[in-house]
């Protein structure tokens, strides 16, 4: 056990820090979940890409630096500590890319990954449907075979598609074999959104941004080349993605350490509201952020030793989503009568709170996660 950073890691951290200090946009960009903000964020993504900071852990040929998991964690810590913008490309980079690396053809890798890293193509997720939320296997959108065209024709509706109104591409599951049992007969498609037959309707989120979209498909053609993995094997392919969504890659400890640090700064300015009870909550939240960090290091060490993590990712998802809410709730309590204001710098806490409230819902509700923990970690009976 050696909890110190190697010289190389320290140097990488120093590089990241000084580059970020020099380049992080000031003042902060507008929300990336609005049309204007999204455009501004893409510029930032381009800046990251040009400096090879967009996808540090990727192979060099796709724009990365082949950084280790440790270096990636270091980058994330520095990124959020520097108050750098949210990554509007994250659903592509953190959810689709791992799946492409695992299941994609060489052509798919060569075509999709560089453009994704550069922010040239932006990817949104097409999982949920009006009748398939927690119950992902309830997907009804259809993919019918088009032998003549050498591909498939998609029809149906996807919903709760984050940033769907601004993205250029969508990845998602469609039912390609209506006869097959729920989890079977699904195929994973990569779809450009600028095609005839696709209608995108922005949907306003709790925080007032048009961060959601409904995407309607009316007989949209997709060539076989844009099927990820085997036809009718989409479920297994998708599970790899939802795994990473819940687990390590989507929520690195750096995010919560940075939020906790900002919270402590806020507390120092709100001494009237900082009674002992809130001080104690603040300490507990800080300890939880530390616990999240060290549990991650524990997991990463195991991963570096080649051990696969399974249902642990469900524990991780429940923990960070509740921690994120507690951090923001505490901030609102400290802000007191100012908490409801949408103007002024502190308004970011209310927006952050609204965003945090989505945590226990998306990527598999925390209720589903607790079932998974009980059944797969503790071995309790499903029925």
């Amino acid at each position: 056990m050696d909890l110190s950073e190697s010289a190389a890691e320290q140097q990488f951290r120093a590089e990241c820090r000084s580059w970020l200090e020099a380049h992080v946009p000031r003042p902060a960009l507008p929300s990336g979940d609005t049309r204007a903000g999204f455009a501004a964020h893409l510029e930032w993504e381009r800046t990251l890409f040009d400096a090879r900071y967009a996808v540090v852990s990727w192979p060099r040929e796709y724009g990365g630096r082949e950084a280790s998991l440790w270096e990636w964690l270091i980058f994330e810590e520095e990124y959020y500590a520097a108050g750098a913008p949210q990554r509007v490309t994250q659903n592509g980079i953190f959810l689709l890319a791992p799946t492409i690396f695992e299941f994609g053809t060489q052509e798919q890798k060569d075509y999709v990954l560089p453009k994704m890293a550069a922010g040239e193509h932006t990817w949104c997720q097409g999982w949920s449907e009006p009748n398939a939320g927690s119950d992902l296997a309830g997907i009804q959108s259809r993919a019918t075979r088009d032998e003549a065209g050498g591909g498939w024709r998609l029809s149906g509706q996807k919903t709760w598609t984050t940033r769907g109104a601004f993205c250029t591409h969508l990845f998602g599951l469609f039912r390609s074999d209506p006869e097959a049992e729920r989890h079977r007969g699904l195929t994973y498609f990569l779809v450009a959104l600028d095609q005839p037959g696709i209608t995108v309707r922005p949907v306003e989120r709790l925080d007032g941004d048009e961060g959601f979209a409904e995407v309607f498909f009316d007989d949209v053609f997709v060539p076989d080349a844009d099927v990820l993995g085997e036809p009718n094997e989409g479920w297994a392919v998708a599970m790899a993605t939802t795994g990473s969504e819940r687990g390590l890659t989507l929520r690195s400890p750096g995010r919560f350490m940075a939020t906790a640090r900002r919270l402590i700064e806020l507390a120092r300015t709100r001494t009237d509201e900082l009674d002992e009870t809130r001080r104690d909550r603040l300490v507990s939240a800080w300890i939880d952020a530390e616990a999240y960090r060290w549990q991650t290091f524990w997991t990463v060490t195991r991963a570096a030793q080649g051990m696969k993590s399974g249902a642990e990712s469900s524990m991780v998802k429940v923990f960070w989503s509740e921690l994120d809410i507690e951090l923001h709730e505490l901030a609102l309590d400290l802000l007191g009568r100012h908490a409801e204001l949408l103007d002024g710098d502190d308004a970011a806490w209310m927006k952050g709170y609204e965003f945090a409230l989505a945590g226990p819902i998306y990527a598999g509700t925390n209720e589903i996660q607790r079932n998974v923990i009980a059944e797969r970690v503790l071995g309790l009976p499903r029925k």
Partner: protein, 306 residues
């Protein structure tokens, strides 16, 4: 000892509920987010005509001269319907303070909702006449609560009168929180009965049942404290402030807990502004940190018992 409302009091509640069910629908509240006045056109006049706005004001001034027990259920209904009007500020807080009906009153320690449509404004600084002030607007997470900082010269107000008024206002907000919690519970129970996943109603899952049962329990034990505080106000009980603070702390907790589980049990649809839930969520967030939050009010109780 008789801890129940009279038939007249229940009838007034029902009349208020009937009016608001028709005249303060979610569509009306949404309109108040965007229209010029930030209120529901005509609603105030109807509430006034029913007598609830001036319920505590002397009859000689056009009020009903009734007491807070008569008012508390009415205010609970205004919470249930997220009424975007200064009803607590006017009916509960201000009317007895200015001693007459027919005056629209806005009041808050600092950020004053609906100050732009009030005749008289009370803040921590004292009393302002609308005519003589400059209002600096601030947007609230609840679009139906237009907030204003008030700039101008205040006239001092008698301290005891203001403390009593403050307790009435706090109790009124606590009543609104109960109404909001009840509405969010109803909305959620209705949704999870219909919404199906995994081939069954979402409401048949024990986790969903227990989330909502816990919220329902919180409401069950908050409400009697609010009604008891109302009775203490009406009876000018010496411990009124303590009773009011107990009520606000439990009502806030019930509303916030309900808001949290209501959103969780709805899932993504509750997270969109196209769905109505957010109108009530955001009101409960705002009210929980207005008129003193739960921690502040537990502090008032602490000084009384420890």
């Amino acid at each position: 000892m008789h801890f129940a409302f009279t038939d007249e009091q229940l009838a007034l509640r029902d009349a208020t509920r009937d009016l608001l069910t028709k005249e303060c629908t979610p569509a009306h509240v949404r309109d108040a987010w965007t229209n010029a006045a930030g209120r529901v056109p005509g609603l105030w006049e109807q509430l006034d005509a029913m007598g609830v706005v001036g319920l505590l004001a002397p009859e000689a001034t056009g009020g009903l001269g009734l007491d807070f027990v008569d008012l508390v259920l009415v205010l609970e209904e205004t919470g249930r319907h997220a009424v975007p009007e200064p009803i607590v500020e006017t009916a509960a807080y201000g009317a007895p303070l200015v001693g007459r009906a027919g005056v629209t009153i806005a009041a808050s320690e600092w950020y004053v909702p609906w100050a732009d449509s009030a005749d008289v404004i009370f803040t921590a600084a004292g009393r302002f006449e609308r005519a003589g002030v400059t209002l600096v607007p601030h947007p609230s997470v609840d679009g139906a609560r237009r907030l204003f900082e008030v700039q101008g010269t205040a006239t001092a107000v008698d301290g005891d009168g203001v403390l009593a008024a403050y307790d009435r206002g706090v109790c009124g907000i606590a009543a609104q929180q109960c109404g909001l919690a009840d509405r969010m519970l109803q909305l959620t129970a209705d949704y999870v009965r219909e919404r199906r996943q995994f081939g069954v109603p979402v409401g048949s899952f024990q986790a969903v049942k227990h989330h909502l049962a816990n919220a329902r329990i919180a409401l069950e034990f908050a409400r009697p404290l609010v009604y008891r505080a109302a009775a203490s106000i009406a009876a000018e009980h010496p411990d009124t402030s303590v009773h009011v603070s107990m009520a606000k702390s439990k009502a806030d907790a019930a509303a916030l807990q309900t808001a949290r589980v209501a959103l969780q049990c709805h899932g993504a649809i509750g997270y969109t502004t196209e769905y109505d839930l957010h109108l009530y969520l955001k009101r409960s967030w705002a009210l929980a940190r207005s008129w003193g939050d739960a921690a502040f009010h537990r502090g008032r109780v602490s000084r009384a018992i420890l």
